[in-house]
Protein backbone atom coordinates (compact mmCIF):
# COMPACT_ATOMS: atom_id res chain seq x y z
CA UNK A 1 0.00 0.00 0.00
CA UNK A 2 1.30 3.39 -0.95
CA UNK A 3 1.75 5.86 1.85
CA UNK A 4 3.33 8.52 -0.33
CA UNK A 5 0.44 9.20 -2.63
CA UNK A 6 -2.64 10.75 -1.01
CA UNK A 7 -5.97 9.31 -2.07
CA UNK A 8 -7.96 11.81 -4.08
CA UNK A 9 -11.34 11.32 -5.73
CA UNK A 10 -11.33 11.57 -9.50
CA UNK A 11 -14.26 11.39 -11.90
CA UNK A 12 -13.33 8.86 -14.59
CA UNK A 13 -16.67 7.96 -16.13
CA UNK A 14 -19.97 9.65 -16.95
CA UNK A 15 -23.23 7.92 -17.87
CA UNK A 16 -26.29 9.99 -18.72
CA UNK A 17 -29.94 9.14 -19.34
CA UNK A 18 -31.58 12.54 -19.77
CA UNK A 19 -34.57 14.01 -21.60
CA UNK A 20 -32.17 15.79 -23.93
CA UNK A 21 -29.80 12.92 -24.59
CA UNK A 22 -28.97 9.30 -23.89
CA UNK A 23 -25.20 9.05 -23.31
CA UNK A 24 -22.86 11.79 -22.20
CA UNK A 25 -21.91 12.92 -25.71
CA UNK A 26 -25.52 13.37 -26.86
CA UNK A 27 -26.37 15.10 -23.57
CA UNK A 28 -23.46 17.52 -23.92
CA UNK A 29 -24.38 18.36 -27.51
CA UNK A 30 -27.90 19.31 -26.42
CA UNK A 31 -26.68 21.19 -23.36
CA UNK A 32 -24.07 23.15 -25.30
CA UNK A 33 -26.60 24.10 -27.95
CA UNK A 34 -29.18 25.09 -25.37
CA UNK A 35 -31.73 22.68 -26.77
CA UNK A 36 -35.12 22.91 -25.08
CA UNK A 37 -36.91 19.57 -24.85
CA UNK A 38 -39.66 20.41 -22.37
CA UNK A 39 -42.91 19.17 -23.82
CA UNK A 40 -46.41 17.98 -23.06
CA UNK A 41 -46.44 14.90 -20.86
CA UNK A 42 -47.33 11.85 -22.93
CA UNK A 43 -46.94 9.06 -20.39
CA UNK A 44 -49.94 6.82 -19.95
CA UNK A 45 -52.58 7.79 -17.44
CA UNK A 46 -51.27 11.31 -16.89
CA UNK A 47 -53.30 13.42 -19.30
CA UNK A 48 -56.06 14.34 -16.85
CA UNK A 49 -53.67 15.83 -14.31
CA UNK A 50 -53.06 19.58 -14.04
CA UNK A 51 -49.32 19.13 -14.54
CA UNK A 52 -48.90 19.28 -18.31
CA UNK A 53 -45.26 19.96 -19.11
CA UNK A 54 -42.15 18.03 -18.13
CA UNK A 55 -38.88 16.66 -19.39
CA UNK A 56 -39.61 13.11 -20.53
CA UNK A 57 -36.94 10.59 -21.41
CA UNK A 58 -38.14 9.34 -24.78
CA UNK A 59 -36.74 6.80 -27.22
CA UNK A 60 -35.25 4.95 -24.27
CA UNK A 61 -35.32 1.17 -24.38
CA UNK A 62 -33.80 -0.21 -21.20
CA UNK A 63 -33.63 -3.66 -22.81
CA UNK A 64 -30.84 -2.36 -25.06
CA UNK A 65 -28.55 -2.26 -22.03
CA UNK A 66 -30.12 -4.32 -19.23
CA UNK A 67 -31.21 -7.97 -19.00
CA UNK A 68 -34.94 -8.59 -18.85
CA UNK A 69 -34.99 -10.05 -15.35
CA UNK A 70 -33.56 -6.82 -13.94
CA UNK A 71 -36.23 -4.88 -15.81
CA UNK A 72 -39.20 -7.03 -14.72
CA UNK A 73 -38.09 -6.83 -11.09
CA UNK A 74 -37.50 -3.06 -10.93
CA UNK A 75 -39.12 0.33 -11.54
CA UNK A 76 -38.34 2.79 -14.29
CA UNK A 77 -36.16 4.85 -11.92
CA UNK A 78 -33.88 1.84 -11.49
CA UNK A 79 -33.94 1.16 -15.23
CA UNK A 80 -32.52 4.66 -15.75
CA UNK A 81 -29.92 4.19 -13.01
CA UNK A 82 -28.81 0.77 -14.26
CA UNK A 83 -28.59 2.02 -17.85
CA UNK A 84 -26.63 5.12 -16.79
CA UNK A 85 -24.30 2.83 -14.82
CA UNK A 86 -23.60 0.70 -17.89
CA UNK A 87 -22.73 3.87 -19.81
CA UNK A 88 -20.55 5.23 -17.00
CA UNK A 89 -18.63 1.96 -16.67
CA UNK A 90 -18.08 1.90 -20.42
CA UNK A 91 -16.97 5.53 -20.39
CA UNK A 92 -14.49 4.79 -17.61
CA UNK A 93 -13.15 1.72 -19.40
CA UNK A 94 -14.21 -0.52 -16.53
CA UNK A 95 -16.03 -3.09 -18.63
CA UNK A 96 -19.46 -4.40 -17.80
CA UNK A 97 -19.02 -5.34 -14.16
CA UNK A 98 -17.84 -8.51 -12.43
CA UNK A 99 -14.61 -6.83 -11.37
CA UNK A 100 -11.55 -8.86 -10.41
CA UNK A 101 -11.66 -7.23 -6.98
CA UNK A 102 -15.38 -6.95 -6.21
CA UNK A 103 -14.85 -5.43 -2.75
CA UNK A 104 -12.93 -2.56 -4.30
CA UNK A 105 -16.02 -1.10 -6.03
CA UNK A 106 -19.06 0.33 -4.24
CA UNK A 107 -22.32 2.00 -5.20
CA UNK A 108 -24.02 5.14 -3.86
CA UNK A 109 -27.22 6.64 -5.18
CA UNK A 110 -29.47 9.43 -4.04
CA UNK A 111 -33.23 9.12 -4.37
CA UNK A 112 -36.09 11.53 -4.01
CA UNK A 113 -38.96 9.09 -3.96
CA UNK A 114 -38.37 5.62 -5.37
CA UNK A 115 -40.35 3.47 -7.77
CA UNK A 116 -43.75 5.16 -7.94
CA UNK A 117 -44.96 3.55 -11.14
CA UNK A 118 -44.14 -0.01 -10.02
CA UNK A 119 -45.62 0.73 -6.60
CA UNK A 120 -48.84 2.07 -8.08
CA UNK A 121 -49.29 -1.01 -10.27
CA UNK A 122 -48.90 -3.39 -7.33
CA UNK A 123 -51.07 -1.31 -5.00
CA UNK A 124 -53.79 -1.34 -7.64
CA UNK A 125 -53.60 -5.14 -7.58
CA UNK A 126 -53.80 -5.07 -3.79
CA UNK A 127 -57.00 -3.02 -3.71
CA UNK A 128 -58.42 -4.34 -6.97
CA UNK A 129 -57.80 -8.09 -6.58
CA UNK A 130 -56.41 -8.70 -3.12
CA UNK A 131 -53.12 -9.14 -1.33
CA UNK A 132 -52.45 -12.51 -2.97
CA UNK A 133 -52.09 -10.77 -6.31
CA UNK A 134 -49.29 -8.43 -5.25
CA UNK A 135 -45.99 -9.58 -6.72
CA UNK A 136 -43.10 -10.16 -4.32
CA UNK A 137 -40.80 -7.75 -6.15
CA UNK A 138 -42.98 -4.95 -4.80
CA UNK A 139 -41.03 -5.46 -1.57
CA UNK A 140 -37.89 -4.07 -3.17
CA UNK A 141 -38.76 -2.31 -6.44
CA UNK A 142 -40.46 0.81 -5.10
CA UNK A 143 -38.01 1.20 -2.23
CA UNK A 144 -35.84 4.29 -2.71
CA UNK A 145 -32.74 2.13 -2.15
CA UNK A 146 -33.57 -0.26 -5.01
CA UNK A 147 -31.22 1.27 -7.58
CA UNK A 148 -28.13 0.95 -5.40
CA UNK A 149 -29.00 -2.66 -4.64
CA UNK A 150 -29.70 -3.67 -8.22
CA UNK A 151 -26.59 -1.92 -9.58
CA UNK A 152 -24.54 -3.74 -6.94
CA UNK A 153 -26.12 -7.13 -7.66
CA UNK A 154 -26.01 -6.80 -11.43
CA UNK A 155 -22.39 -5.62 -11.58
CA UNK A 156 -21.05 -7.73 -8.72
CA UNK A 157 -19.93 -4.62 -6.84
CA UNK A 158 -19.43 -5.67 -3.23
CA UNK A 159 -17.66 -2.60 -1.87
CA UNK A 160 -19.38 -0.06 0.39
CA UNK A 161 -22.92 0.62 -0.83
CA UNK A 162 -25.33 3.26 0.35
CA UNK A 163 -28.27 5.48 -0.44
CA UNK A 164 -28.47 9.15 0.38
CA UNK A 165 -31.98 10.39 1.11
CA UNK A 166 -31.42 14.09 1.65
CA UNK A 167 -33.75 15.78 -0.78
CA UNK A 168 -32.75 16.90 -4.27
CA UNK A 169 -29.41 18.21 -3.01
CA UNK A 170 -28.73 14.58 -2.09
CA UNK A 171 -27.41 14.14 -5.62
CA UNK A 172 -24.40 16.25 -4.61
CA UNK A 173 -24.24 14.72 -1.14
CA UNK A 174 -23.96 11.28 -2.77
CA UNK A 175 -20.99 12.41 -4.86
CA UNK A 176 -19.34 13.73 -1.70
CA UNK A 177 -20.09 10.45 0.07
CA UNK A 178 -18.44 8.56 -2.78
CA UNK A 179 -15.40 10.84 -2.62
CA UNK A 180 -15.08 10.11 1.10
CA UNK A 181 -15.37 6.40 0.30
CA UNK A 182 -12.42 6.72 -2.06
CA UNK A 183 -10.38 8.61 0.52
CA UNK A 184 -11.15 5.90 3.07
CA UNK A 185 -9.83 3.17 0.82
CA UNK A 186 -12.42 2.04 -1.73
CA UNK A 187 -10.98 1.92 -5.24
CA UNK A 188 -14.02 3.23 -7.10
CA UNK A 189 -17.70 3.94 -6.58
CA UNK A 190 -20.59 4.16 -8.98
CA UNK A 191 -22.43 7.25 -7.81
CA UNK A 192 -25.35 9.33 -8.93
CA UNK A 193 -29.11 9.47 -9.10
CA UNK A 194 -31.95 8.87 -11.52
CA UNK A 195 -35.64 9.53 -10.97
CA UNK A 196 -38.89 8.58 -12.66
CA UNK A 197 -41.49 11.01 -11.33
CA UNK A 198 -43.68 11.04 -14.43
CA UNK A 199 -46.36 8.47 -13.66
CA UNK A 200 -49.88 9.09 -12.31
CA UNK A 201 -49.32 8.38 -8.62
CA UNK A 202 -45.94 10.10 -8.60
CA UNK A 203 -47.36 13.14 -10.32
CA UNK A 204 -50.24 13.44 -7.89
CA UNK A 205 -47.67 13.45 -5.09
CA UNK A 206 -46.01 16.46 -6.66
CA UNK A 207 -49.17 18.47 -7.26
CA UNK A 208 -49.07 19.74 -3.70
CA UNK A 209 -45.73 21.49 -4.17
CA UNK A 210 -46.37 25.23 -4.43
CA UNK A 211 -43.10 25.50 -6.39
CA UNK A 212 -44.35 23.29 -9.24
CA UNK A 213 -45.02 25.05 -12.54
CA UNK A 214 -48.32 24.17 -14.14
CA UNK A 215 -47.87 26.54 -17.06
CA UNK A 216 -48.88 24.75 -20.25
CA UNK A 217 -46.51 26.37 -22.75
CA UNK A 218 -43.23 24.40 -22.70
CA UNK A 219 -41.02 27.40 -23.47
CA UNK A 220 -42.62 29.54 -20.74
CA UNK A 221 -43.06 26.96 -18.00
CA UNK A 222 -39.59 27.11 -16.42
CA UNK A 223 -37.81 30.46 -16.56
CA UNK A 224 -35.77 31.03 -13.40
CA UNK A 225 -34.19 34.40 -12.65
CA UNK A 226 -36.72 36.18 -14.89
CA UNK A 227 -39.74 38.31 -14.01
CA UNK A 228 -41.79 35.50 -15.55
CA UNK A 229 -40.51 32.86 -13.11
CA UNK A 230 -43.47 30.63 -12.30
CA UNK A 231 -41.95 27.58 -10.64
CA UNK A 232 -40.03 24.56 -11.83
CA UNK A 233 -40.79 21.82 -14.33
CA UNK A 234 -40.02 18.23 -13.28
CA UNK A 235 -38.03 15.80 -15.35
CA UNK A 236 -37.10 12.16 -15.34
CA UNK A 237 -33.70 10.55 -15.82
CA UNK A 238 -30.37 11.29 -14.25
CA UNK A 239 -26.71 10.39 -14.35
CA UNK A 240 -24.20 8.01 -12.83
CA UNK A 241 -20.52 8.78 -12.43
CA UNK A 242 -17.48 6.67 -11.72
CA UNK A 243 -15.64 8.30 -8.81
CA UNK A 244 -12.28 6.63 -8.45
CA UNK A 245 -9.04 6.90 -6.56
CA UNK A 246 -6.85 9.09 -8.74
CA UNK A 247 -3.84 6.77 -8.36
CA UNK A 248 -5.90 3.73 -9.29
CA UNK A 249 -7.16 5.53 -12.39
CA UNK A 250 -3.67 6.61 -13.45
CA UNK A 251 -2.22 3.17 -12.80
CA UNK A 252 -4.72 1.60 -15.16
CA UNK A 253 -4.23 4.34 -17.73
CA UNK A 254 -7.71 5.84 -17.40
CA UNK A 255 -8.36 9.50 -18.14
CA UNK A 256 -8.95 11.62 -15.05
CA UNK A 257 -11.86 13.75 -16.23
CA UNK A 258 -12.17 15.90 -13.11
CA UNK A 259 -11.48 15.94 -9.40
CA UNK A 260 -14.13 16.08 -6.70
CA UNK A 261 -12.53 18.90 -4.73
CA UNK A 262 -14.98 20.09 -2.09
CA UNK A 263 -18.53 19.79 -0.81
CA UNK A 264 -20.72 21.11 1.92
CA UNK A 265 -24.41 20.79 2.80
CA UNK A 266 -26.80 22.74 5.02
CA UNK A 267 -30.47 22.64 5.92
CA UNK A 268 -32.80 25.61 6.18
CA UNK A 269 -36.30 24.14 6.20
CA UNK A 270 -38.96 23.24 3.67
CA UNK A 271 -40.08 26.00 1.30
CA UNK A 272 -38.34 28.65 3.37
CA UNK A 273 -36.60 30.07 0.34
CA UNK A 274 -35.53 33.36 1.84
CA UNK A 275 -33.57 31.44 4.45
CA UNK A 276 -31.92 29.32 1.76
CA UNK A 277 -29.77 32.39 1.00
CA UNK A 278 -27.87 31.90 4.22
CA UNK A 279 -27.86 28.11 3.92
CA UNK A 280 -26.63 28.05 0.36
CA UNK A 281 -23.96 30.71 1.02
CA UNK A 282 -22.76 28.66 3.99
CA UNK A 283 -22.62 25.54 1.83
CA UNK A 284 -20.62 27.37 -0.86
CA UNK A 285 -18.11 28.62 1.71
CA UNK A 286 -17.79 25.14 3.14
CA UNK A 287 -17.21 23.57 -0.27
CA UNK A 288 -14.61 26.20 -1.19
CA UNK A 289 -12.90 25.68 2.13
CA UNK A 290 -12.67 21.93 1.67
CA UNK A 291 -11.39 22.42 -1.88
CA UNK A 292 -8.81 24.98 -0.73
CA UNK A 293 -10.29 27.24 -3.37
CA UNK A 294 -10.54 31.04 -3.36
CA UNK A 295 -13.83 32.56 -4.61
CA UNK A 296 -11.99 34.07 -7.59
CA UNK A 297 -10.91 30.62 -8.74
CA UNK A 298 -14.48 29.61 -9.53
CA UNK A 299 -14.79 29.83 -13.32
CA UNK A 300 -18.44 28.84 -13.69
CA UNK A 301 -21.46 28.31 -11.46
CA UNK A 302 -24.16 25.74 -12.26
CA UNK A 303 -27.10 27.27 -10.45
CA UNK A 304 -29.93 25.48 -8.68
CA UNK A 305 -32.34 27.81 -10.54
CA UNK A 306 -35.60 26.79 -8.92
CA UNK A 307 -37.71 29.27 -10.85
CA UNK A 308 -39.57 30.62 -7.81
CA UNK A 309 -38.92 34.38 -7.50
CA UNK A 310 -38.11 34.25 -3.79
CA UNK A 311 -35.82 31.26 -4.27
CA UNK A 312 -34.08 32.78 -7.30
CA UNK A 313 -33.42 35.96 -5.32
CA UNK A 314 -32.02 33.95 -2.42
CA UNK A 315 -29.71 32.03 -4.75
CA UNK A 316 -28.41 35.17 -6.51
CA UNK A 317 -27.75 36.76 -3.12
CA UNK A 318 -26.11 33.59 -1.77
CA UNK A 319 -23.69 33.55 -4.71
CA UNK A 320 -22.84 37.19 -4.03
CA UNK A 321 -22.56 36.59 -0.27
CA UNK A 322 -20.16 33.67 -0.71
CA UNK A 323 -18.14 34.79 -3.73
CA UNK A 324 -18.11 38.56 -3.05
CA UNK A 325 -17.64 40.82 -6.04
CA UNK A 326 -16.64 37.78 -8.10
CA UNK A 327 -20.20 36.56 -7.67
CA UNK A 328 -21.56 39.14 -10.08
CA UNK A 329 -18.80 38.52 -12.65
CA UNK A 330 -18.53 34.75 -12.76
CA UNK A 331 -20.54 33.07 -15.54
CA UNK A 332 -23.62 31.36 -14.15
CA UNK A 333 -25.67 28.82 -16.05
CA UNK A 334 -28.67 26.55 -15.59
CA UNK A 335 -28.89 24.00 -18.42
CA UNK A 336 -31.76 22.31 -16.59
CA UNK A 337 -34.19 24.95 -17.88
CA UNK A 338 -34.03 23.08 -21.19
CA UNK A 339 -34.90 19.67 -19.76
CA UNK A 340 -36.48 20.18 -16.35
CA UNK A 341 -35.43 19.18 -12.85
CA UNK A 342 -34.96 15.49 -12.35
CA UNK A 343 -35.03 15.89 -8.56
CA UNK A 344 -31.92 14.10 -7.14
CA UNK A 345 -30.81 13.42 -10.69
CA UNK A 346 -30.66 17.13 -11.52
CA UNK A 347 -27.49 18.10 -9.60
CA UNK A 348 -25.74 14.96 -10.86
CA UNK A 349 -26.64 15.92 -14.44
CA UNK A 350 -25.30 19.40 -13.64
CA UNK A 351 -22.07 17.89 -12.33
CA UNK A 352 -21.75 15.88 -15.55
CA UNK A 353 -22.36 19.08 -17.53
CA UNK A 354 -19.74 20.89 -15.43
CA UNK A 355 -17.10 18.25 -16.22
CA UNK A 356 -18.00 18.32 -19.92
CA UNK A 357 -18.01 22.14 -19.93
CA UNK A 358 -14.48 22.19 -18.47
CA UNK A 359 -13.31 19.65 -21.04
CA UNK A 360 -14.79 21.56 -23.96
CA UNK A 361 -14.01 25.07 -22.71
CA UNK A 362 -17.61 26.20 -23.10
CA UNK A 363 -20.14 27.53 -20.62
CA UNK A 364 -23.47 26.16 -21.85
CA UNK A 365 -26.49 28.47 -22.01
CA UNK A 366 -29.72 28.60 -20.00
CA UNK A 367 -32.53 27.67 -22.44
CA UNK A 368 -35.76 29.69 -22.51
CA UNK A 369 -34.28 32.40 -20.27
CA UNK A 370 -33.62 35.74 -21.97
CA UNK A 371 -34.13 38.62 -19.62
CA UNK A 372 -33.09 38.25 -16.02
CA UNK A 373 -33.91 40.45 -13.04
CA UNK A 374 -31.00 39.56 -10.75
CA UNK A 375 -27.40 40.73 -10.57
CA UNK A 376 -25.86 37.65 -12.14
CA UNK A 377 -23.89 37.04 -15.33
CA UNK A 378 -26.26 34.34 -16.50
CA UNK A 379 -25.16 32.75 -19.77
CA UNK A 380 -28.10 32.84 -22.18
CA UNK A 381 -28.88 32.06 -25.82
CA UNK A 382 -25.61 30.41 -26.76
CA UNK A 383 -22.59 28.77 -25.19
CA UNK A 384 -19.75 31.05 -24.13
CA UNK A 385 -16.17 29.92 -24.80
CA UNK A 386 -14.05 30.13 -21.66
CA UNK A 387 -11.01 28.53 -20.08
CA UNK A 388 -12.58 26.59 -17.23
CA UNK A 389 -10.55 24.99 -14.46
CA UNK A 390 -12.96 24.98 -11.55
CA UNK A 391 -16.75 24.69 -11.42
CA UNK A 392 -19.23 25.19 -8.59
CA UNK A 393 -22.46 23.18 -8.69
CA UNK A 394 -25.38 24.25 -6.50
CA UNK A 395 -28.51 22.39 -5.50
CA UNK A 396 -31.45 22.88 -3.20
CA UNK A 397 -34.30 20.60 -2.32
CA UNK A 398 -37.97 21.40 -1.80
CA UNK A 399 -37.67 20.07 1.74
CA UNK A 400 -34.89 22.46 2.70
CA UNK A 401 -31.54 20.91 1.87
CA UNK A 402 -28.81 23.03 0.30
CA UNK A 403 -25.54 21.73 -1.11
CA UNK A 404 -22.52 22.97 -3.02
CA UNK A 405 -19.89 20.93 -4.86
CA UNK A 406 -16.57 22.11 -6.29
CA UNK A 407 -15.10 20.11 -9.17
CA UNK A 408 -11.75 20.79 -10.79
CA UNK A 409 -10.55 19.92 -14.23
CA UNK A 410 -8.65 16.66 -14.41
CA UNK A 411 -6.15 17.77 -17.02
CA UNK A 412 -5.87 14.40 -18.76
CA UNK A 413 -8.34 14.73 -21.53
CA UNK A 414 -8.17 16.86 -24.60
CA UNK A 415 -11.71 16.27 -25.75
Amino acid sequence: MSTQRPRRAAITGIGVIAPNGLRADAYWKSVKEGLGVLDRITREGCDHLPLRVAGEVRAFDAADLIEERFLVQTDRFSHFAMAATVLALDDAGLGSGDPAEPYDIGVVTAAGSGGGEFGQRELQKLWGQGSRFVGPYQSIAWFYAASTGQISIRGGFKGPCGVVASDEAGGLDAIAHAARGVRRGTGALLVGAAEAPLAPYSMVCQLGYPELSTVEEPDRAYRPFTAGACGFVPAEGGAMLVVEDENRARDRGAAVRAMVAGHSATFTGASRWERSREGLAHAIRGALDEAGCAPEEIDVVFADALGVPEADRAEALAIADALGAHGTRVPVTAPKTGMGRAYCGAPVLDTAAAVLAMEHGQVPPTPNVFDICHDLDLVMSRARPAELHTALVLSRGLMGSNAALVVRRGGDSAR
Binding site: R69, L71, Q73, G135, P136, Y137, S139
Partner: protein, 85 residues
Protein backbone atom coordinates in the same frame (compact mmCIF):
# COMPACT_ATOMS: atom_id res chain seq x y z
CA UNK B 1 -59.70 -33.38 -13.94
CA UNK B 2 -56.01 -34.03 -13.54
CA UNK B 3 -54.01 -30.92 -12.95
CA UNK B 4 -50.35 -31.03 -13.65
CA UNK B 5 -47.89 -28.19 -13.90
CA UNK B 6 -45.37 -29.06 -16.60
CA UNK B 7 -41.78 -27.96 -17.12
CA UNK B 8 -43.11 -25.95 -20.03
CA UNK B 9 -45.47 -24.02 -17.77
CA UNK B 10 -42.75 -23.49 -15.20
CA UNK B 11 -40.59 -21.92 -17.89
CA UNK B 12 -43.46 -19.57 -18.79
CA UNK B 13 -44.00 -18.69 -15.14
CA UNK B 14 -40.29 -17.93 -14.63
CA UNK B 15 -40.51 -15.50 -17.53
CA UNK B 16 -43.73 -13.89 -16.36
CA UNK B 17 -43.00 -13.61 -12.65
CA UNK B 18 -39.31 -12.86 -12.71
CA UNK B 19 -38.29 -12.00 -16.27
CA UNK B 20 -36.07 -15.07 -16.45
CA UNK B 21 -35.96 -16.53 -19.96
CA UNK B 22 -35.20 -20.22 -20.05
CA UNK B 23 -35.81 -22.68 -22.86
CA UNK B 24 -38.24 -25.42 -21.67
CA UNK B 25 -35.98 -28.14 -23.09
CA UNK B 26 -33.00 -26.72 -21.24
CA UNK B 27 -35.09 -26.45 -18.11
CA UNK B 28 -36.09 -30.10 -18.39
CA UNK B 29 -32.44 -31.05 -18.71
CA UNK B 30 -31.42 -28.98 -15.73
CA UNK B 31 -34.31 -29.86 -13.46
CA UNK B 32 -31.89 -30.79 -10.70
CA UNK B 33 -29.95 -27.52 -10.93
CA UNK B 34 -30.55 -24.98 -8.17
CA UNK B 35 -32.95 -22.19 -9.19
CA UNK B 36 -30.22 -19.69 -8.41
CA UNK B 37 -28.02 -20.96 -11.22
CA UNK B 38 -30.99 -20.62 -13.59
CA UNK B 39 -31.27 -16.95 -12.64
CA UNK B 40 -34.33 -17.26 -10.40
CA UNK B 41 -34.01 -15.78 -6.91
CA UNK B 42 -36.19 -16.53 -3.87
CA UNK B 43 -38.55 -13.64 -4.58
CA UNK B 44 -39.04 -14.97 -8.10
CA UNK B 45 -39.98 -18.40 -6.78
CA UNK B 46 -42.31 -16.78 -4.25
CA UNK B 47 -44.01 -14.97 -7.15
CA UNK B 48 -44.47 -18.26 -9.01
CA UNK B 49 -45.99 -19.84 -5.89
CA UNK B 50 -48.46 -16.94 -5.64
CA UNK B 51 -49.31 -17.19 -9.33
CA UNK B 52 -50.06 -20.93 -9.04
CA UNK B 53 -52.10 -20.46 -5.87
CA UNK B 54 -54.23 -17.86 -7.62
CA UNK B 55 -54.55 -19.91 -10.78
CA UNK B 56 -55.70 -23.10 -9.02
CA UNK B 57 -57.40 -21.39 -6.07
CA UNK B 58 -55.49 -23.62 -3.73
CA UNK B 59 -52.80 -22.89 -1.16
CA UNK B 60 -49.44 -24.55 -1.63
CA UNK B 61 -47.49 -25.74 1.41
CA UNK B 62 -44.95 -23.35 2.97
CA UNK B 63 -42.18 -25.61 1.69
CA UNK B 64 -43.04 -24.73 -1.91
CA UNK B 65 -41.12 -21.45 -1.82
CA UNK B 66 -38.15 -23.20 -0.19
CA UNK B 67 -37.67 -25.74 -2.98
CA UNK B 68 -34.18 -25.67 -4.37
CA UNK B 69 -34.63 -27.19 -7.84
CA UNK B 70 -37.29 -27.31 -10.58
CA UNK B 71 -37.81 -31.06 -10.04
CA UNK B 72 -38.29 -30.66 -6.30
CA UNK B 73 -40.70 -27.79 -6.87
CA UNK B 74 -42.80 -29.48 -9.57
CA UNK B 75 -43.01 -32.70 -7.56
CA UNK B 76 -44.31 -30.83 -4.53
CA UNK B 77 -46.72 -28.68 -6.52
CA UNK B 78 -48.16 -31.56 -8.50
CA UNK B 79 -48.47 -33.83 -5.46
CA UNK B 80 -50.37 -31.07 -3.67
CA UNK B 81 -52.64 -30.33 -6.61
CA UNK B 82 -53.43 -34.01 -7.20
CA UNK B 83 -54.12 -34.62 -3.52
CA UNK B 84 -56.97 -32.15 -3.61
CA UNK B 85 -58.34 -32.93 -7.06
Amino acid sequence: MIIEVTVDELAKLMKKAAGVSVDPTDLAHSSDSPFGTLGLDSLGLLGIVGELENRYSKPLPPDAERCKTPREFLDLVNTTLKAGA
